[in-house]
Symmetry: C2
Subunit: 362 residues, 2 copies
């Protein structure tokens, strides 16, 4: 097979060694005589995989001891509801910082659960081109929590310095930039991330949560939706998505072999330098709408002079073995997703194509 | 590799051809240059897989046109909460028929959402050995729905004739016997089933629901938990667990190749005849606690004279390449799960082992 350069926004490119390992082991895990897919989630063979996945999350991010690591189902969209169900009691209000479509959706779900307000928004005519400054945040000191979306796949913006929320727990949806680098987990009350961008397949979510926050969570909701239920049962309260956990394990083991998150961050920053460098060099042809300080290193968005040229670029890229460049249907344009598994080689090849295309079509 | 005879209760044995297909295609779906795991859920390659999985469910079960087919996340345990969240409005009550640990859990979650009552229970000293008769059901004619668990993995009982609930919608958790045979979907308001027994991996749930019931569902709950959200978006409202859907597709395609559910039912009944036949023949040694008319064809449970003999049987079976025979930790004893992918050959080999073991140890 000819493996394409895959710039999909998620589900996205996975590291080939993690896939090859899955292929090799698909019919038999170890010498157990059966696939990992056929193992009981209560058996020791699966348990070793499960524990290793959790331990890798802890190790790679230096998760403090007073934080739970959970592996859940339902995607980040389910966390939009579970966060307020657990952490927003009657009589309290939650603060939401809007930086894109996903934070809007998170707010909408919170409003169906309790009281939530907008602490800041950078929307102009329904579009977002930047992350707000600390001074722009109108924070309620009595809020149950402050919610942010750390990276915005649609609009291509990313938080690099997280806001100071004082004593109010900071909650972050990190689905699209989880583990692109290390971050200080202790600054957050809770972090959640769908795996399908940087660390695995769709169908599994990693949650990091301060133990005191989990313990103080609401008890008047179904047991399956309480973080405490999953934290107390090592994410084995009900049957976990065992193969998805296995794949996350494979990806994180690969990440560690690459040198961990410091090495991956270096690579991600280099990819950003190459790609934004090409766009800036050709700024009379490619227009990047995002403020320089808010430019995402995960999703690089830009426009061409016309939609017809955008389609032509996508078609030429496809011929050259580069796919997944179409912008989100809500915003159009071009979007290049450059998650951990996207190689510098892929990004360099794309940058060259952008140069050639601009020269031929300007 | 030597493939073992796998009698796990779930996650459970999968058909080897479905696994081999996954292995073959793991690095590249079709000639797309990437794994199915790396495809966008909005792309045409994945969409074909998704649509085929949904179509196979419809075709194999002859699902009527006025029913939605949904592929969701969170396991049956999440359905324990979603069913009352959607279908149990304030001022109404739901009826629960208790036949085992899973129906007890479903009732507990319903009580956290609204008003629910026990319409029947066959528990004696906390154990269940049979399915209730129609005459034993104390049904509330004004109930929002009646909930049953069609097969009980812990206690080894199964409904063969479903109850008549008049105009009250019948809701069934069919996780452990979904698609062991055909059934008349139109008799149910809603059916849900975790895939990890008969039709796929853990981490995906199939829901069949009458359209009018979905349309009339509660709107005052988070959008992600409304059946209508998923039904209206062809189970693509948020990113689905794409590889799990792919595997369900593989298993259902295999099922169809075997001759569909009529052929599978015949095979399942033959497996039951062989296994219960051996147990009955050796009834002075093996004790099956379940009433003959309620004996599950999916999970065959029995006891030996002593726990030490049970452990010895499990050890000898393991040596002979048969695993997964330990009863659920809540009830002990032996449990043989004989889902669709467990072959008649496996069951016949086990029956022979049971004969030999009884002869040597009686």
């Amino acid at each position: 097979m000819a493996r394409v350069f895959n710039f999909n926004a998620g589900p996205a490119a996975l590291p080939l060694p993690a896939l090859e390992r899955a292929q090799r082991e698909l019919l038999e895990l170890g010498s157990s005589g059966m696939s990992v897919l056929e193992h009981s989630h209560r058996g020791k063979e699966y348990e070793a995989v499960h524990d290793e996945a959790m331990a890798l999350v802890r190790r790679l991010l230096s998760v403090p001891d007073d934080y739970h690591v959970m592996l859940l189902q339902g995607g980040a969209s389910q966390q939009f509801a579970m966060v307020p169900m657990n952490l927003l009691p009657a009589g309290k209000s939650a603060d939401y910082v809007l930086t894109g479509g996903w934070s809007e959706k998170a707010l909408e779900e919170a409003k169906l659960v309790g009281t939530a307000r907008v602490a800041a928004t950078t929307a102009v005519d329904g579009r977002y081109t930047r992350i707000p400054t600390q001074a722009e945040l109108d924070l309620d000191p009595a809020a149950a929590y402050v919610h942010i979306t750390s990276n915005n796949t649609l609009f291509g913006t990313q938080w690099f310095d997280f806001p100071n929320t004082g004593d109010v727990p900071l909650v972050a949806d990190m689905s699209s930039d989880f583990m692109w680098r290390k971050f200080d987990v202790s600054k957050f009350g809770l972090v959640y991330a769908g795996a399908q961008k940087n660390i695995g397949p769709s169908g599994i979510v990693v949650v990091l949560a301060r133990k005191s926050l989990v313990d103080g969570g609401r008890k008047d909701i179904p047991k399956i939706f309480r973080y405490k239920t999953h934290a107390d049962n090592k994410s084995l309260y009900n049957t976990p998505p065992t193969f998805s956990v296995y794949l996350v394990r494979n990806v994180l083991a690969w990440l560690e072999e690459q040198g961990g998150l410091d090495a991956v961050e270096k690579q991600n920053r280099e990819k950003g330098r190459v790609l934004y460098g090409a766009l800036d060099e050709l700024s009379s042809f490619y227009k990047c709408p995002v403020d320089v300080g808010s430019r995402s290193l995960m999703n690089v968005v830009f426009r061409l002079p016309t939609e017809a040229l955008e389609e032509k670029l996508i078609a030429e890229a496809k011929k050259a073995g580069m796919v997944g460049l179409k912008g989100h249907r809500a915003v159009g344009g071009i979007r290049v997703s450059t998650y951990n598994a996207v190689s510098l080689q892929a990004v360099t090849a794309l940058a060259q194509l952008l140069r050639d295309f601009a020269r031929a079509n300007a």
